[in-house]
Amino acid sequence: MNLTHQDFLAFLGGARDTLIYCAVSFPLALFLGLILALMSGSHLLWLKTPARIFIEVMRSTPMLTQLFLLYYGVGAVLVSFNLAQYDNAWVAGITSLALNYAAYEAEIFRAGMLSVDYGQIEAALSLGFTKRQSFLRIVLPQAIPLMIPPFVNDFIYMLKDSSVVSIISGTELTAVLSAWVSHHGSNPFAGYALAIVLYLLLSLPTSYLARLLEQRLRANL
């Protein structure tokens, strides 16, 4: 075992940063995803088309590519607004995770809302509900339970996909692992094992929770 106490702490710090990346990015992705879903479900072309284009482009290109484009593109935008001090791996990583996942969450929102019988909306409208009311009071409460399991799944995906941020020298777990391995190239297996255990500790409880939640929701339906 060639892992020192300090290495161990560094790996733990990496795991913490992985969690921070996801804890910040995922709510952002949910929020953006909801907006995108509402836009792409709209009858208005000027709302629908940009949302569709965004979703398709995000889903058809690798996150690694998006990360690089953002790292350069967003950097330039920040500079032109005199916000250069916010240009770092955190901003680029969180922005690209949030934008990429927003496209996937939008599809989940859309599928969830479509699953609510249209007759119910008609009924609500005929009972004098406004469109907004029927959406907030009728559609969402029924759609959300259906959407939670895929959301949790996507959160687990994000825990793993955040490793890609290591390539623009973030500070999360995979970046710590890479740095450690480059100093211990001859016998790297202890580092690999520790990283795997930490990732499993992050993802397995979440996936167990997801399964539990799914079972309970199914039982309720």
Binding site: W46, V57, P62, T65, K160, V164, T174, Y199, L200, S207
Partner: protein
């Protein structure tokens, strides 16, 4: 909003959309010399990406099928082994797995005398074609293995749920009619299960193509690495950004038709 207002907004929108699209094409056009000069290199990277993805998805399908049979096996140790495989792979990032295959197992095996590059080189020397073996053959080898094992785990779950979706009564009926278990699987269960598994399978293939970009970290000349090699020596920042956009377009061209296909298949399934 009244109808006329919507119409007015829509026509305004179409004008704006046309302007944006023309703007994008003009942006591309303004880099015309680079487009022509770099096209063969990015095409070559695209071909490498497609080959890596195809080989990996074939191996992943085999692993996934084996894994699904293992998960459904009545023999407990095999079931545990298959479950362990699925949980460990699905709980860790593909990038970390690729690092372990390439630097961990790759270096370990080469110190024990197993070097895929040397084997391929010697084989191709016999065939008078050893210059066809790329330097990064080891990267291809372990990269494909890493992607296959990763997606094998996801496909295990896809195939398992596909097989489980076929009512148990059917296989019991087949068995009582004198079918062997293998026959039952091949003639009764699989034909029904495969229909259900095709849409998620296509979706996983798309993400596999995108994940193959991670192989660029092993210096394999696939699309992503080709993009880097062309972008980084650019002194002009605009040209550098353009090369990244150009590379991304190739991924879009590969993946978008596939995602249209996946959605078409999903819709057809939904209709039954």
């Amino acid at each position: 909003m009244n109808k006329r207002g919507t119409k007015g907004l829509n026509s305004l929108f179409f004008i704006a959309l046309t302007v944006v699209i023309f703007g994008f094409f003009y942006y591309l056009y303004s880099f015309k010399p680079l487009i022509i000069l770099y096209l063969p290199f990015l095409l070559q990277g695209t071909v490498a990406t497609i080959i890596i993805s195809l080989v990996s998805i074939v191996l992943a399908t085999l692993l996934g099928f084996g894994g699904a049979l293992g998960r459904l096996s009545s023999y407990v140790p095999i079931r545990w082994l298959a479950t362990l495989y699925v949980e460990v792979i699905r709980g860790t990032p593909v990038l970390v797995q690729l690092l372990i295959w390439y630097y961990g197992f790759g270096n370990l095996l080469s110190s024990l005398g197993f070097n895929p590059y040397t084997i391929a080189f010697q084989l191709m020397t016999v065939l008078q074609n050893n210059s066809l073996v790329p330097d990064s053959f080891n990267g291809f080898f372990y990269g494909v293995i890493g992607l296959s094992f990763n997606y094998g785990a996801y496909l295990t779950e896809v195939f398992r749920s596909g097989i489980e979706s076929v009512p148990r009564g059917q296989s019991e009926a087949a068995l009582s009619l004198g079918f062997t278990p293998w026959h039952t699987l091949r003639r009764i269960v699989l034909p029904q299960a495969i229909r259900l598994t095709i849409p998620p399978f296509t979706n996983y293939f798309i993400t596999l193509i995108q994940d193959s970009a991670l192989l660029s970290t092993f210096a394999i000349t696939e699309l992503e690495q080709q993009t880097y090699a062309l972008a980084f020596p650019q002194v002009d920042a605009n040209k550098k950004l353009f090369v990244f956009v150009y590379g991304a377009l190739f991924y879009l061209i590969i993946c978008y038709p596939l995602s249209l296909l996946a959605r078409y298949l999903e819709r057809r399934m939904a209709r039954g």
